[in-house]
């Protein structure tokens, strides 16, 4: 049943209900009708019997004969009643039939014990009859008056038929009205379905919810909310892609131009070698940008799924991150110092993401510190920080540092402008925030647990 449409189910339900109502009404009026008719016909039979019993059957003269004839006529041609609906016979106490109505009455079997009603099967066809027995007033004769039971049933059936006809008409109207109402009330749902089916995949505008029935409103509301969320995600993705494409233009231009310089250099070996060196640098820069773009796009998609979070071993994560950056630091004569005050209170998380975060912070510190600077990594109960000496950043620029692709003006070191976006995203995935500030003639990045 579930696989049928709601509409069809409602209609089938209506048909079944009205069918049942109709049937129940029919059966009930049949039984009621039968009972009432039986009572009626019985009374009529008794009345007729009384009339017959009052006649003087011993001396049938012209006067009584005409009375009998009139009675017979009454019985036979009683207007709407069917012919031969009633029959009668007159017996002696010994069971000899002395008179009958000329039709079925002649087939009545005498039953001398009988008094009141009795059912008999009459004639060749063994038709069931209901017969009333009564003694004549002069007590000389016994009179039987009977009626065919089929006739009674036919009458009852006619009665039921007459009663049910308006019922049937009413139910039909009800059913049509119900089908119409159901399909009319389902129109908004159909409208939404039609709208959604014919919608352009880029069209994420809200469905008009003002004229929807109360039952449908929450669904449309939820759908519209989903549209808004999808639109936001799409917008983010699109701006990410367009930003990325934009950011890739510069390194590509650099590669192209430097390659052309190398070609132009011809015999000028010094210029050519320098251009080739810069070409290598440009390729490194482009690769780093692509790598960070991928990291960030993976992080954007990374849902806050704590199920794959593991226990974090902070000593190991920090030591390892420092070790991987040691080489780059030594080249700049930079010393990385690690101060562990207390264990950082974030206990569960992704060790991979945290080492990515630390690597980015250390990479930034090394990249933008002067030769011989000092880097300090400090772990405390509620924070994790990386400090580098020798460089401060203009206060008005600090708030913009976390923006994607933002690079401070006058930057000679190459970088993608994505490092801090990556740091920020990872911190947020672990319910932490990132604080940036100048301190002690240097720059300090602190990850605070919230």
């Amino acid at each position: 049943m579930k696989k049928f449409s709601l509409q069809l189910r409602l209609i089938i339900f209506f048909i079944l209900i009205s069918g049942t109502v109709f049937l129940t009404a029919g059966i009930m009026s049949w039984y009621e009708g039968r009972e009432k008719l039986d009572e009626f016909f019985d009374t009529y039979q008794i009345l007729m019997a009384r009339k017959l019993s009052s006649l003087d059957w011993q001396h049938i003269n012209a006067e009584s004969q005409s009375k009998i004839d009139k009675l017979i006529k009454d019985l036979d041609d009683d207007g709407e009643e069917e012919d031969d609906a009633l029959g009668f016979a007159v017996f002696t106490h010994e069971g000899k039939m002395i008179f009958h109505d000329g039709n079925e009455g002649k087939d009545f079997h005498f039953n001398h014990n009988a008094s009141g009603f009795e059912n008999q099967k009459i004639g060749k066809d063994k038709e069931p009859w209901r017969i009333f027995w009564i003694e004549s007033i002069d007590k000389q004769y016994i009179i039987a008056i009977g009626q065919e039971i089929d006739f009674r049933e036919d009458a009852a059936f006619d009665l039921v038929e007459d009663t049910l006809l308006p019922w049937a008409a009413g139910l039909t109207i009800l059913l049509i009205a119900a089908v119409y109402m159901v399909s009319r009330e389902f129109r908004p749902v159909k409208k939404i379905a039609y709208e959604l089916r014919h919608r352009d995949s880029n069209d994420l505008s809200a469905i008009d919810n003002d004229n929807m029935p109360t039952e449908i409103k929450p669904m449309v509301w939820a759908l519209n909310n989903l549209f808004i969320k999808i639109a936001e995600t799409l917008k983010r993705e699109r701006s990410f892609i367009s930003d990325s494409a934009h950011e890739l233009r510069s390194p590509l231009t650099a590669l192209k131009v430097q390659l052309e310089v190398a070609e132009l250099a011809g015999d000028d070996i010094k210029t050519r070698n320098e251009a080739l060196q810069k070409l290598c640098l440009g390729i490194e820069r482009a690769s780093r940008l692509v790598e960070q773009l991928l990291e960030l796009s993976r992080l954007e998609a990374y849902e806050k799924d704590t199920s794959n979070f593991k226990d974090l071993n902070w000593e190991e994560i920090i030591q390892e991150a420092i070790t991987t950056q040691q080489n780059a630091a030594s080249n700049q004569n930079i010393n990385i110092k690690y101060i562990s005050k207390e264990k950082f209170c974030i206990k569960k998380g992704s060790p991979l993401l945290w080492s990515l975060l630390l690597r980015n912070l250390l990479d930034n510190a090394i990249r933008y510190s002067p030769y011989g600077a000092e880097i300090k990594v400090t772990m405390d109960k509620t924070s994790l920080s990386v400090y580098n000496s020798g460089v401060t950043i203009a206060e008005e620029i600090i708030p913009r540092l976390k923006e994607r692709f933002f690079r401070p003006p006058g930057q000679s070191r190459n970088g993608s402008g994505l490092g801090l976006s990556i740091v920020e995203r990872i911190a947020r995935l672990h319910n932490c925030n990132v604080e940036l500030k100048n301190e002690n003639n240097g720059f300090l990045v602190t990850i605070h647990s919230i």
């Binding site: 233009r249 650099a254 131009v257 052309e260 810069k278 003006p409």
Partner: protein
């Protein structure tokens, strides 16, 4: 031809600087918008290459300021975004041409040459003077149909004189037009170039106007 290049990207700026020098321009390269803006007011440039995405002050503001101050040097803008909007705004702000990244060095050079040519009202890339044909496109000089090999600086001096017929150019003007700030210039450099040009193209090619400077000789 002296070009002012304002581009903050280290590798692109460096490539354009060296590449354009190789192609016969003298280039002054500034990575900072504010310095670049001042430079145009201090030296005679034939054209400017201006990156729009500059730190500090953005390229469009610089361009608008120059035009307000009446500077008419042709400007080629470099945009990182291929947006039509930015191109239109650039052109409406007074730029003469634009290139979207990623571009090729050769294209930058070709566009700069075209801009300078248009600025000098010479629509064909060749300048004829008597029996001399100077091809600005491939930077060759023919004397009576025979190609004469000139050094890049000699070509620049010749081109300068050809573009300023009937004008006397001082030694300083010539110096400023053919040398960028980072080049070391000996005190008699211009005289040496003039001397070489006369040797290669004939004595009458350049007239010396005493105590004032030089001008192109009669055809």
């Amino acid at each position: 031809m002296r070009i002012l290049l304002i581009e903050d990207d280290q590798l692109i700026g460096d490539g354009l600087n060296i590449g354009l020098e190789k192609l016969g321009f003298s280039v002054d390269w500034f990575q900072n918008g504010l310095d670049g803006r001042e430079a145009l007011l201090q030296a005679p440039y034939d054209a400017v290459i201006l990156d729009l995405g500059l730190p500090g002050i953005d390229g469009l503001s610089i361009l608008k300021e120059w035009r307000m101050q009446g500077k008419k040097e042709p400007v080629l803008i470099l945009t990182a975004r291929g947006d039509v909007d930015q191109k239109i705004i650039g052109l409406e702000s007074g730029a003469d041409d634009y290139l979207a990244k990623p571009f090729a060095l050769a294209e930058v050079a070709a566009r700069i040459k075209a801009l300078i040519r248009r600025n000098n009202n010479t629509l064909t890339p060749t300048i004829e003077h008597g029996n001399i044909i100077f091809n600005q496109h491939n930077r060759t000089v023919k004397l009576n149909g025979q190609e004469v090999i000139l050094s890049p600086k000699e070509l620049m001096v010749l081109e300068l004189l050809l573009n300023n017929k009937n004008k006397v150019l001082s030694k300083e003007t010539i110096e400023n037009k053919i040398y960028s700030w980072d080049e070391e210039v000996s005190s008699n450099a211009v005289e040496v170039h003039i001397h070489h040009l006369r040797k290669k193209l004939g004595k009458n090619i350049i007239k010396t106007i005493n105590k004032i400077g030089y001008m192109l000789g009669e055809a």
